[in-house]
C-alpha cells in the first residue's frame, strides 16, 4: 500500500475510520513518549553538568568521592532531599539527582505508556503487558 509520505503516519489516505482513530491517537502518543525521553535525559545531563560546575567553583576540582552503598533509587533521592531540606545544599545533591533522573526517565516513559493503553486506547491486553513491565521495574527500583 502506498501513501503520500508527506501526509505522515497520522493520516493514512486509504485507512478505515477505525484505523484512522487509532493512528491519530498513536501520533500524539509517539510525540509524548519521545519528548518524555528527550526531556528526562536533558534534565539529567543538566543536573550532572551543574553539579560539576558547582564543585569546580567550590573546590577547583571536578572529582567526587562518595559512595552509594546499599541504597535503592528511592532511598537515594530521599536521603539527598532530606539533607537539602536541612539546608545542606551540596554539589553531590545535584549529581545524585542527575543519576536518579536518568534512571527515572525510562520508568516515566513506561508509566505514560500504561496510561495511554488504559485510558486512550482501552486496550486491556497491552494495559496488562505494560503493567507487568511497570511492576517489574518498580520491584527493581525498590530492591534492597
Amino acid at each position: 500500500m502506498t501513501d503520500d509520505p508527506k501526509i505522515g503516519a497520522g493520516k493514512h489516505a486509504g485507512a478505515t475510520a477505525g484505523d484512522l482513530g487509532e493512528t491519530k491517537r498513536e501520533f500524539d502518543m509517539d510525540a509524548v513518549v519521545g519528548y518524555i525521553l528527550l526531556i528526562g535525559v536533558l534534565i539529567s545531563l543538566v543536573l550532572v553538568v551543574s553539579a560539576l560546575i558547582w564543585r569546580w567553583i567550590d573546590t577547583r576540582a571536578l572529582s567526587f568521592d562518595y559512595k552509594l552503598t546499599g541504597m535503592n533509587l528511592f532511598q537515594l533521592v530521599l536521603d539527598e532531599v532530606r539533607l537539602a531540606a536541612h539546608g545542606m545544599l551540596r554539589p553531590r545533591l545535584l549529581l545524585s539527582l542527575g543519576i536518579a533522573m536518568l534512571m527515572l526517565t525510562p520508568y516515566i516513559r513506561v508509566l505514560a505508556s500504561m496510561v495511554y493503553f488504559m485510558a486512550a486506547l482501552k486496550n486491556w491486553k497491552y494495559s496488562v503487558f505494560t503493567a507487568i513491565v511497570l511492576l517489574t521495574l518498580t520491584y527493581s527500583l525498590f530492591l534492597r
Binding site: 493514512h12 513518549v33 545531563l45 553539579a51 560539576l52 567526587f64 549529581l95 543519576i99 513491565v133 527500583l141
Partner: protein
C-alpha cells in the same frame, strides 16, 4: 581501585561514545574495556556503563519514536522479557568472579562484530502471520522517507522472539551493554520486522532493560558517582557527535576502521580473561 581523574575520564568517554556510535554500536562496548585498562574493576565498569546506556539509548530513541518508526507494542511486549533477563544477568555478574566476565564480554563483542560486518539487511519476510503474533497485534506501518511511501508490515513468531529476548536481556544486564546487535538480529531474523523498525524499537527497549540492570548495580553499591559523572556526560556527547556524522557519511571504509577497533577490544578482553592476573 585506583582513582581515575575527571580530566582523563571525560575525554576518554567522549572518544568511547564516538567510536561506539561510528561502529554502529553503543558506547558501552568501548568504555568497559577502556575503564578496565585504566585500572577500574570490571564490575564497577559494567555498572557505570549500563547507566550511560540509559542516556544514549533514550536520547536516540526519542527522535525515532517521534518519527513514528518505533513500534510501541512490539517494544512493550518484548520489554517484559528483556527486563526479567537484565535482572537475572546483573545478579549473575554480582555472583561470579571477574575472569569469566572478560571472556564472555569478548565473545559477545566478537559475535556482535560479526553480525555488524556480515549482517545483511534483507527486506522483511512477507509470509503469513501466526495466530499468536496476530493476537499480540504486532504489526504496523511507518513512513519511509527513502522509499517515499508508507511501509506496512506484520511481525511473526513472537513465541520464539520472546524467550530469545530474555537471553538478550541477560547479556545486557550481565555485561552492562545495550546488546543492540543481538536484539536487532532477533527482530530481523526471527520476527521479520523491517530493519528500520527493528533498530529503532530495539533502541527503545535498551533503555528500560538497562534501567533494570542499573537498579541491581545501584543497590550493590557498584555505581560510583565520581566515575559516573564524566562517563555519562562524555559518552552522551561522543555518541551524539558520532551519530550525527554517521548519517552524513557514505564511506564504508571509515566505518570498517571503527569496526576494526571493536575487534581489537574483543580479542584483548578475551586474552585478558584467559590469561588471568587482571
Amino acid at each position: 581501585m585506583p582513582h581515575v581523574s575527571f580530566e582523563l575520564l571525560f575525554p576518554v568517554s567522549i572518544v568511547a561514545g564516538f567510536v561506539g556510535a561510528m561502529a554502529g554500536m553503543g558506547g558501552g562496548v568501548v568504555i568497559i574495556p577502556v575503564l578496565t585498562l585504566l585500572g577500574v574493576d570490571i564490575k564497577h565498569a559494567i555498572a557505570i556503563s549500563i547507566l550511560s546506556v540509559i542516556a544514549t539509548s533514550s536520547g536516540s530513541a526519542s527522535a525515532y519514536i517521534r518519527d513514528h518508526i518505533t513500534n510501541l507494542k512490539v517494544g512493550m511486549f518484548l520489554e517484559m522479557f528483556t527486563i526479567a533477563g537484565a535482572l537475572t544477568g546483573a545478579r549473575i555478574t554480582l555472583a561470579v568472579s571477574p575472569r569469566p566476565l572478560y571472556i564472555i564480554f569478548g565473545l559477545v563483542l566478537l559475535a556482535s562484530w560479526l553480525a555488524l560486518l556480515f549482517g545483511s539487511h534483507k527486506l522483511a519476510h512477507t509470509g503469513p502471520q501466526d495466530k499468536f503474533t496476530h493476537w499480540l497485534e504486532l504489526e504496523g506501518s511507518y513512513p519511509d522517507r527513502v522509499l517515499g511511501q508508507t511501509v506496512h508490515y506484520k511481525a511473526r513468531r513472537a513465541y520464539f522472539g520472546a524467550p530469545l529476548m530474555y537471553l538478550a536481556g541477560i547479556i545486557a544486564g550481565l555485561l552492562g551493554i545495550g546488546a543492540g546487535a543481538v536484539k536487532v538480529l532477533i527482530h530481523d531474523l526471527i520476527m521479520g520486522l523491517p530493519p528500520k523498525v527493528s533498530t529503532t524499537t530495539s533502541n527503545m527497549i535498551i533503555g528500560v532493560t538497562a534501567l533494570a540492570g542499573a537498579s541491581v548495580y545501584l543497590v550493590a553499591g557498584l555505581i560510583d558517582p565520581g566515575l559516573a559523572a564524566p562517563v555519562i556526560l562524555g559518552i552522551a556527547i561522543g555518541a551524539f557527535a558520532g551519530t550525527r556524522l554517521l548519517v552524513r557519511m557514505s564511506n564504508q571504509a571509515v566505518r570498517r576502521f571503527f569496526l576494526f577497533i571493536l575487534l581489537i577490544l574483543a580479542v584483548e578482553m578475551m586474552v585478558r580473561g584467559i590469561r588471568g592476573g587482571l
